[in-house]
Symmetry: none
Amino acid sequence: MMHLAIMRRMSSIDTPFELHSTSTAAGTKYARKKVAAIAAAAQVFAEKGFHGATTQDIATVMGIKQGSLYYYFKSKEQALQDVCEYGFENYVQQMEKICGKAQPFEAKMQMIITSHLTTYRQKNNAMKVHNDQRLYLPKERRQHLKELGTRYRQMLENTLQEGVQQRTIRADIDTHFVAYSIIGMCNSWGAYLVRDESLDLFDTIQQCADLVLRGVLN
Amino acid sequence: MMHLAIMRRMSSIDTPFELHSTSTAAGTKYARKKVAAIAAAAQVFAEKGFHGATTQDIATVMGIKQGSLYYYFKSKEQALQDVCEYGFENYVQQMEKICGKAQPFEAKMQMIITSHLTTYRQKNNAMKVHNDQRLYLPKERRQHLKELGTRYRQMLENTLQEGVQQRTIRADIDTHFVAYSIIGMCNSWGAYLVRDESLDLFDTIQQCADLVLRGVLN
Amino acid sequence: MMHLAIMRRMSSIDTPFELHSTSTAAGTKYARKKVAAIAAAAQVFAEKGFHGATTQDIATVMGIKQGSLYYYFKSKEQALQDVCEYGFENYVQQMEKICGKAQPFEAKMQMIITSHLTTYRQKNNAMKVHNDQRLYLPKERRQHLKELGTRYRQMLENTLQEGVQQRTIRADIDTHFVAYSIIGMCNSWGAYLVRDESLDLFDTIQQCADLVLRGVLN
Amino acid sequence: MMHLAIMRRMSSIDTPFELHSTSTAAGTKYARKKVAAIAAAAQVFAEKGFHGATTQDIATVMGIKQGSLYYYFKSKEQALQDVCEYGFENYVQQMEKICGKAQPFEAKMQMIITSHLTTYRQKNNAMKVHNDQRLYLPKERRQHLKELGTRYRQMLENTLQEGVQQRTIRADIDTHFVAYSIIGMCNSWGAYLVRDESLDLFDTIQQCADLVLRGVLN
DNA sequence: AATGAATGAGAGTTCATTCAT
DNA sequence: AATGAATGAACTCTCATTCAT
């Protein structure tokens, strides 16, 4: 469930029309249902894609009528934006925690991959939606996501750079390229993890880490 | 351009009325335009996704009117199926050639990656569509694609298995897992290659191959 | 401001629950807010038209929430009816005073036009709404308005008739027709006065009176 | 019927999507039906107002399905714009013809009023729509209409100016003001003519002209 | 006295699809 | 071989209205 992670950020949630009376919006009924709305939208977008999904689908998952959805989202596009932002913000936060701690390179890489894949397995559809559907947002609405993405990639590249300095990883490595590769591979495994529940999470993490670190050669 | 590859398979193309079958279908005006139709659909689906694309979009790219499209595709769904099949068939054929030749493991791996990424860079939108949009086809219509996919993965796994037997690659490698990983990483780079024209193809190929073979560790 | 005039009639205002009727309704908080509600509705209907206006618009002008509006109006249609009736009742009352006094024809005509145009310039949106939007009310709800209108036109016609008898105006005049013409011209100038604040009120009144009385010929 | 007048201008009609093959679009089936579409929209907008009318209403009058309407109008707003423009363009053209001919002032004024009121009586709903509903168009879409309106008013003012120079009308007349007054009064009578079929057209014209020229005074 | 939350009906618009020509 | 014209179903979004609190 994405709920815990998202609720951590709920203090910043937007309220409908005007500000609510309570200063911390986190506890409001509205905030609680908005979380549910984002979760529902994430699930539906992940399954059917942005254009393939209907607002009716989302409303059905929430157990409300279709028109009522607009109490929580100003538009379908806004729903996509919210899903992407909450999903990705949460993920980048986790990344910051991991990269903030002083740890040997291999441990960090392991944690990064663990975080990435675990996020998917926890049915964090928001993450999948961010990866696959964010390009359907008009550029203006992707501003924030782009910044988050850059921050995330930079943390990953920095980690690799540290590895180079620690002489743990090869000096001839192009950290920029490797960062992209890791993200790509993990996203691809993430999609499998979402689709196939029988796939073992920890096994997958081990194998990913092993492949990245040692390659296939003898 | 995908044209050459696709035209090779044109002999099996479906003709709209039985009448047409008198001549070799491959050379027919119909067959030639059907190729163009598939290419147009591929381009549009790649850009906007299946559900985000309209038949009008495809017709516009072809320079014909919307209604005329139905001379080439029985339905929008059929267009997606055609794009996926022609795109992927073509790719698997190439794979067969590569794997058919007796070659050392590393050379083969290099060629596989080269083939995969080159396909993308040549703006083979059909390939992108197959990877990103095929799941929007109903299961029945994915039968053929699934077979092709299995064949393809098996060739990749066999190649890896050969590598193990040649002692070129580690014995503890899970070939199934590595095959998926390579595909995932390459697809992700493929998407970048399509989006960013300034990205150097051969550089990308080298780096991918290097990462897969040697990993990042020192 | 229409307030004074409207408040004079407030004694007849409908109260939402019978309970309220203990005190004189005119001074009730409810009555005061109902006036504000009518004024808000008048403003919004004048600007956007009945169908183009939303209950949200009216609520916003009042500074209350959309749902709360139904404490003052049973329906949007009722709001239109209230606006039209209060606006027009007020105007017809003024007309009654003017026509009641014994005065020479030209002075009366001057006062009638002054009354009409001043009403508009005072941003009496209710009047504009009555003129432009009343036809969107179902016939049954226009009963009262129709009676008022007839009364008003009759007073105008009577005034003209007096003018004929006093030999102040031509005997071959069709008073019925002229009455309609004056109303039409004044309404049209009223709309300009509302739209263009820089238009001088007294100048307009003079010109209108002059045109009606003397025509353009030399 | 507005058909004749509108068809005169049909050579400039816009075609759907792309240019038609024939150079004169006037004869096309599309052009013919677009005329019908504009007439239908004019009728419905005149009756119910822009916001009160539905695209379904218009389609019903045309005898087509609601969705098919969009073959002729890109949007409901475009329909309003088309109605206003065709209606008013036509009217201004007529005005140009009247004012172009050298004629004594009184005759011209008579013709102007005749033209104005006849336009209404011919059920030229487009004219009514232009007068009552054009303000619901966003400013950008009113550009053309504004220019037409200015041209029209100028012709009327010029005519009055000529009258002054010919000493036919009083020198102390404010031509600007009188022009507006005539338009206002005629529009108001136009609305009556549309609503009440029993009203005699020529009688109304006579009375209007008489009132404007000679006023009511003895 | 007012509001948050929801609803249901309908609006405008889009679009895949059909078919006579 | 292609098109103009139309359709019908679905979709997003709006809005008047209700009602428990």
